[in-house]
């Protein structure tokens, strides 16, 4: 493909731009690759006092385990420290949060997108304010009542709290998706004999799948990545992955524990990698959906 004369950039500009981009790619990707590589070494290599190159070659790993790679960090975390339990908890929380968020959010977002009245605007504005509030401020509001009513520590509590915290964002995103669906569609369904809800279920939802999937991805990320709520509201046996990693850090004195954290960090990041790989287009479109409508 040849560029037309009008689009040609000066040489210097092209060089500067390209080298900046290469630099950015290194900055963005290198930490992950480095940690992935290091997660198969022992602590003495990952944090090497002698020479940073040890993290690459791993002389201590060879000395301690006999091979240049070891999965002892993963074994320690997943089996010894029962990280699998946290992973199961995370899975429960994330699946429930995504499903409930989407159910509530599609209903609410549809209503907001189709109501011509002023209160719809006010509700959106209020949820924008809710979106602005740091989750930890809400957590400090939950603790006392949850202790009183014995709600603290259970998975369902954390799930419904995460659903609620996700709602403002979910509503905004889905409302902007629903607004892109012509009103003619639900109106013709209603003329054809549907009630509002039937029109929503039979006609709008089938068209909305891309938007629902995109919003679901972001609900997933919010629930999966949450630390403030899950760390404060779940008891130790119900802990999800992220607070579990944080708890590894509290006990770094024990030798090898850091490697538990490193290996579980990689374990947590791997699904996110796959997510970006498969859903890159949806993530990009989701991010822009809100912005375009502004």
């Amino acid at each position: 493909m040849t560029t037309r004369v009008a689009d040609r950039r000066p040489m210097i500009l092209r060089v500067v731009m390209s080298s900046f981009l290469v630099l950015w790619l290194i900055v963005a990707a290198f930490p992950f690759l480095w940690t992935l590589w290091g997660s198969f070494k022992v602590e003495g290599d990952f944090f090497s006092k002698a020479d940073w190159l040890n993290a690459l070659t791993g002389p201590l790993t060879i000395a301690e385990t006999g091979g240049s790679f070891t999965s002892s960090g993963y074994y320690g975390a997943w089996v010894q420290e029962e990280f699998w339990r946290a992973a199961m908890n995370s899975l429960t929380v994330v699946v429930c949060v995504v499903c409930i968020s989407l159910t509530f959010g599609t209903l609410g977002g549809y209503a907001l997108s189709r109501s011509p009245y002023r209160y719809a605007f006010w509700l959106l504005l209020i949820s924008l304010v809710f979106r602005a509030m740091p989750p930890i401020t809400l957590v400090s509001g939950y603790l006392l009542p949850f202790f009183e009513w014995n709600l603290w520590g259970h998975l369902p509590t954390a799930i419904i709290v995460l659903v609620a915290i996700n709602q403002p964002f979910t509503l905004w995103m889905l409302t902007s998706f629903f607004r892109n669906i012509p009103k003619d569609l639900d109106e013709s369904a209603m003329m054809d004999g549907c009630s509002r809800f039937q029109a929503f279920r039979h006609v709008i939802i089938p068209v909305m799948w891309p938007g629902v999937i995109t919003t679901g991805l972001f609900s997933f990320l919010l629930a999966y990545n949450d630390f403030a709520v899950t760390a404060m509201l779940l008891s130790k046996e119900n802990q999800t992955m992220i607070p579990k990693i944080a708890s590894f850090l509290g006990t770094t004195q024990t030798k090898g524990n850091v490697m538990f954290a490193v290996s579980s960090v990689i374990s947590v990041t791997a699904p996110l990698f796959l997510l970006v790989m498969f859903f890159q287009r949806q993530i990009v479109s989701g991010l822009t959906a809100g912005a375009v409508k502004g």
């Binding site: 963005a28 609410g108 209503a111 009245y117 509700l123 602005a132 930890i136 509001g141 992220i242 997510l275």
Partner: protein, 342 residues
């Protein structure tokens, strides 16, 4: 849509938000004006053969009864807000009287825990927001100049810092800048100081947190700017070319105005996100050098003694803070809506 239908559709979402967002706000407001009960002290007389002595002891039963009867604690009004750990009016007045100059005054004020957290949070928000937007724009312009073939993989890699769990992303960076990590070692070599430790220095810690902030937020700005660049009106750009606009003038008069609404939108989102900065401080174990408002609340809530009232008061102040920060946008949206309706 009729009011009744609307109500039924909106009910689940509205109830969730009402119960778990609106009510907790009420809850922090009430908690912040109640303090925990003090323990009930009872005087007992111990009589032995050699006479009687009086001693005080904690009446566990009475204490528990009192706590059960009034779980909220005792009403103390706004005194928690004004105590040393929050707005610290008395301390500030004292500092004002004794401070040698304005610099000294601010120096001492930011030593107070709440102002310390506030100053870090505001600095972080004020620096990370524009820096990540600027970075994102440059990346977007650079990617836009790439051949179509390379764009996909570049976007993939660029998304990673944003998508990764904040606690995890910050940990990964933290391990690298550890004195024994690769970046830490590189910095030591660069500075020629083998004893250099980021963990030990407040300014370096702040810098690292801000670097993390830009690293993790720039992709968001990049994606949105990149999408914005795809929708720059081609006709306007071409008529600018024919009118004789240079490359820079085309960016200045066509592209940037087109991206301006996106910038406002992102600034809003990023101010919200940066104001709640929390996880990187946990990951960096930076509590000793840098506290954000969220971290301040978190450390009050955690630990053996849960300081619920103190956390509640900080929460109320934090919520007030973010509302003040985003109020220009709220007011503008409200006006814009008014115009549309009129």
């Amino acid at each position: 849509m009729k009011h009744k239908t609307f109500l039924w559709f909106f009910l689940p979402s509205g109830m969730a938000m009402f119960l778990f967002i609106a009510m907790p706000i009420v809850s922090v407001l009430t908690q912040s004006v109640y303090a925990p009960h003090e323990q009930v002290i009872r005087e007992v007389e111990n009589c032995t053969l050699f006479g009687c002595s009086k001693a005080t002891q904690i009446d566990q039963e009475a204490t528990r009864a009192l706590r059960d009867a009034e779980p909220m604690g005792r009403f103390v009004g706004p005194s928690i807000y004004t105590d040393r750990n929050h707005l610290a009016f008395a301390e500030i007045a004292g500092i004002w009287r004794n401070a040698s100059g304005l610099g000294d005054f601010f120096g001492q004020v930011t030593n107070l825990p709440f102002y310390d957290a506030l100053s870090f949070t505001l600095t972080y928000t004020a620096l990370v927001t524009p820096l990540s937007l600027a970075f994102g724009l440059i990346i977007a312009l650079a990617v836009n100049a790439l051949p179509q073939l390379f764009r996909g993989p570049v976007i993939f890699v660029s998304l990673l810092p944003m998508i990764v769990t904040p606690l995890v992303g910050a940990l990964i960076l933290f391990w690298m800048i550890d004195a024994r990590g690769v970046l830490g070692a590189a910095l030591q070599a660069l500075a020629g100081d083998p004893g250099l430790s980021i963990k030990a220095s407040t300014p370096l810690m702040w810098t690292m947190l801000i670097v993390y902030g830009v690293w993790s937020s720039a992709p968001f700005a990049f994606v949105i700017y990149y999408a914005g660049l795809q929708t720059v009106p081609g006709d306007t750009l071409e008529s600018a070319m024919i009118d004789g606009a240079s490359r820079w003038e085309r960016i200045r008069y066509v592209i940037l105005p087109h991206l301006l609404p996106l910038t406002t939108f992102m600034a809003l989102i990023k101010i919200m996100d940066n104001f709640r900065v929390f996880e990187p401080i946990v990951s960096f174990s930076a509590g000793a050098h840098a506290k954000s408002l969220s971290y301040f609340i978190y450390s009050d809530l955690g630990g053996e003694t849960r300081l619920l009232s103190s956390a509640a008061a900080t929460s109320v102040l934090t919520i007030a803070g973010i509302i003040v920060l985003i109020s220009p946008v709220l007011v503008r949206t409200w006006h814009a809506f008014g115009r549309v309706r009129a």
